[in-house]
Amino acid sequence: MEFMVAILLGVLTACGVYLVLRPRTFSAVLGLTLLSHAVNLFLFSMGRLHSHTPAVIGAVDQHADPLPQALVLTAIVISFAMTAFVVALALRSALELRNDHVDGVDKEEDPI
């Protein structure tokens, strides 16, 4: 199972990084989503990988660590909200800059 999770994490992260580096906002947003999936999975696996071990003391001999699960929950909420925000922002900047490049440069713009 460790091997599979490791491969999955690697693939997710690699795809995420590749997409974040793309020039269009849509792929950047997708990349961020993949990255946050990878991160959540990683956090989750930090409580060590077991099967059939609920995070309840006394229910089974060996119980899972509940803290990473709580952390992942927080991280999921935050990343979910951020994805929504960045989608809205990408739409708005696509409308205002008349293109969907992350660097959306326009000829008639003022320098800094």
Partner: protein
Amino acid sequence: MHLMVFAILVPFFAGAFLILANQLASYLQRMISIGSSILLLVVALLLLTYALSGEYFIYQLGSWQAPFGIVLVLDQLSAMMLVLIAGLALVCSVYACLGDDARGAHFHALFQFQIMGLSGAVLTGDLFNLFVFFEILLIASYALLLHGGGRDRSRAGLRYVIINLVGSALFLVALGVLYGVTGTLNMADMAIKVEQLSQDDKPLVHAAAALLLVVFGIKGALLPLLFWLPRAYASATATVAALFAIMTKIGIYSMVRVFFLVFGGEEGIHLSLWQWVWPLAIATMVLGAVGALGAQSLRGLTAWMVIISVGTLMAVISEATIASLASALLYLAHSTLLTAAFFLLSDVIERYRPGCRDYFVPGPKTQDRVMLGVLFFTAAVAFAGVPPLSGFISKVWILSHVDSLNGYRVFWPTLLLSSLVVLVALSRAGSALLWRQNEQQVSQAKAPYMASILVGLLLLLSVLFTTFAEPLMQFAQSTATQVMLTERYLQPFVIGDI
């Protein structure tokens, strides 16, 4: 001591109430916002008087015992940051009421949430909680950066959001590794666990520490990660930019706190991190100086001055001695106040010159030329490091405390040259904005006097900084000692009861 949690709760309740009560008349919203900022300042000053005793104050949220529950920790460093945040928040919230807050919805609520994130980040003693407060202040800052709308803000905002989301992902990875290895998230507990690690686990902690360096480098704008900053700060509304002046410093604060505490010790991991920080910080200073020369508006120039100050701070802190940290803390306070003053001043100038704003182009004659000149001149003298104001004192103190060989060979010339470059850039800015006024009709535009008074207030702090330099230096010295000698911080956690 329940007072500590008020530093987070006051802005939280004010912000939450303002969101619910967004139909309220604008003057009521302003009063709530300013009232909350005043209350926060009072709380921060009270906390500072407690912290001055040199003790650590630990507040266990919900009475959950540390290291299992979340703790807030108050020491001199966090108290100092808190006072800085609260003071700046008060000035900015009053300034926002001069018209900036009406340019978009929910300004005051977002402002209060930003303050909540900032004060939470400096108080917390738990790494995951630090992440959460970072997210709170970032989410508020995303919306604040876009406040007022416009193409520049959208573009700068998009980049800012994306790079910070990547930063958050890296932060979580680092936290995951640290938790996986040490089994705790409490900073003090983790510091003890890191000391006891086996050799096999050391590389993992090294990697996590390096990831944290990247994360704090993004927040603090260290060289390869700073390119979001100039445009973001230059395009933000003046009030927001002035508040953001403290945000880069929060990145630096986290570095100081986490690296010295968690990865500290005689031969700690932090030493190898500072080796990375030092050359990058020097390069940041150089790049900041180049950028300052190329800036075309006062706001852009100020953004680059933020970068120079960040570079200076990081270079000094990476010397990792008590004396250098003390001088860095003083410079941190000084540079935050001055860059905030410059952002507000650029808005004042913009209101006096509606057409050409704060760009360095000759404009019509403005009203109140003498007052603008005095404000600009004082601010420039104070920031560039010309005697007698705070820049001079803090830079002299920095120079006298950086006494390593590389410090003499590289840091001294870089700091002195970058100061010279800032002086040149500010002279150019001043003559373009205030002297080269063409023969067109005198412009009738005026800023409210309150705006100039607020800028003057920040500059007055710089004067007071000089007047009370000695007690401030003693405070910085004892703060740095407290930060670097962590035994007493860790003591209650070793015994296991607090």
